[in-house]
Symmetry: C2
Subunit: 310 residues, 2 copies
């Protein structure tokens, strides 16, 4: 199974359009610097030598030919442009090796990319009925998209292009746009197995607590891509950016008692990788105390373009 | 007045996710090559040494400090990251010099970027009542966005940050998602004047014919950014990509009798620039016969990052 991280940041990306936190300021400067060193106009490239990150999305393939997209980020066009394997093959004028889009939830930073997939005849969309209804009624982009192409919805479990895909509810929160209270199936984790090799990826970009259900979903997998949104529970409140803690926003913090790092440290999974990292998170900075703590535990920090095989 | 072209392509950009036309193939290869020469991971930058282009959007400022965005493209995050002047200033943790977003129409490639402006308290949105209603009812993103921030709508004429902004209907087509027939005000051209200097920009990214109304809108301006979507009326039909001609899609072609280039050639406007250029358009290729014809007429081809003052 081949895994390609198209985007590794939480909503907004790094730099976020209106954010002046140290990470975003550094990312903006590095974009300008790299442009100069590449002798291109500053605006002519979007590098992320270290900090720059687009919003989280992952491409997975069992055979290296047919691909499944896990969440469709607002940065989809930039992400596809950076990964030629997702382009049309064999000299075709139009075409795509994309077999399906699988959604973990209905957050805008996980579904907006669907709007950039208009130039086709049909799209296979896999998500829970709850998420489908959010995108039909509360943030009704699917009825509008249905005037461009046919949407073939299926729920979990699903078998696509040599991959078996299961979903598990992780007791998260419905998106802020939802008109109703959160329900079972609003936020899921995915367990994706290669039918041929049995290798298994677990994708959990948003998880509010390390429950027994989460532990069971992860048990025995070969790679875990886990919610690394915030380092600490008060990361956003201490900056005065919001009154909502990490927990309030449906994200288990990395550090602290009950944080995800304590669990990951003792977990028998070959590759443990944080993804969906917020621009304020100090683990983005190489050499920071927080980054070192993650690395000491044998845990990796995802970056855009990270590409590996299981 | 300072003008910064954030994106210069029509819907889909260059390369478009599923397009294998010569321009898109070349753009994909150049992205990989530039990454290697900059010693960065291929996916770590998105350059466009010549062909790469994001979807059309322009930033305008009367004073170099406060900015107005003309259309909000799906590539907004990438575009803001590439232009530090749109970042927060003065060491603020959050902030933006963005005073308003002005829409010419309701096409998805002109409005999707609104979804990436969530992390704020309020947004000033300027568009016709027709476009406002499309975004309330037919592609209802505004009701969902209203749960993140307050949207303050106003129609034309509008005066913002030292700019006087007028709109003129250009008899275009309602977006494909519209449930109703096209109406007056669905597609407009903008005339933007610096209150202080009187310098004037006309922005016409989608125009179906060079009517007398269009001529009057453009008359006496200092710079015209004009619909350069297609070179020829049969550009897409001859490739077998659609049965709709340029005219059918609401775009006057560049070439031919009644094409825009014949008009531009004799037009007394200092800077005449094609923008909103489709990935199939041969004018994107430097040295092409079509590009040379445009250049001979003294007309420019916009590129991402193009930045100038009037």
């Amino acid at each position: 199974m081949r895994i390609h991280v198209l985007g590794s940041a939480a909503g907004g990306g790094v730099p976020q359009w209106n954010c002046g936190c140290p990470n975003c300021r550094t990312a903006r400067r590095s974009i300008q610097r790299s442009a100069v060193s590449a002798r291109l106009h500053p605006s002519s490239l979007i590098p992320h030598p270290s900090l720059r990150r687009t919003q989280s999305s992952v491409a997975v393939s069992a055979d290296g030919k047919r691909w499944v997209l896990l969440n469709a980020s607002p940065d989809l066009c930039t992400q596809f442009a950076s990964f030629p394997s997702l382009g049309p093959s064999g000299g075709k004028l139009r075409g795509s090796p994309l077999e399906a889009v699988v959604l973990t939830d209905g957050e805008m930073d996980h579904v907006t990319g669907l709007l950039s997939l208009r130039e086709q005849k049909n799209l296979r969309l896999v998500c829970t009925k709850g998420v489908l209804n959010l995108l039909k009624h509360d943030f009704p982009i699917l009825p509008a998209l249905g005037r461009y192409f046919e949407i073939q919805h299926s729920s979990f479990p699903s078998r696509i292009a040599g991959l078996q895909i299961l979903a598990e509810d992780v007791s998260g929160k419905a998106p802020p746009y939802a008109k109703r209270a959160s329900r079972n199936g609003d936020v899921t984790g995915l367990r994706i197995k290669s039918v041929e090799t049995g290798k298994t990826l677990v994708y959990l970009p948003g998880v509010s607590a390390i429950t027994n259900r989460v532990r069971r979903l992860v048990d025995g997998c070969d790679c875990l891509l886990l919610d690394g949104t915030f380092w600490s529970n008060d990361e956003m409140t201490s900056l005065g950016l919001t009154k909502r803690t990490a927990h309030d926003m449906g994200h288990v913090p990395i550090s602290g008692d009950g944080g995800s790092l304590a669990w990951l440290s003792g977990l028998n999974v070959k590759r443990r990788i944080y993804i969906h990292i917020n621009n304020t998170n100090p683990v983005l900075r190489k050499g920071s105390r927080e980054r070192k703590a993650v690395e000491r535990a044998g845990v990796e920090i995802a970056h855009d373009g990270m590409d590996f095989r299981l």
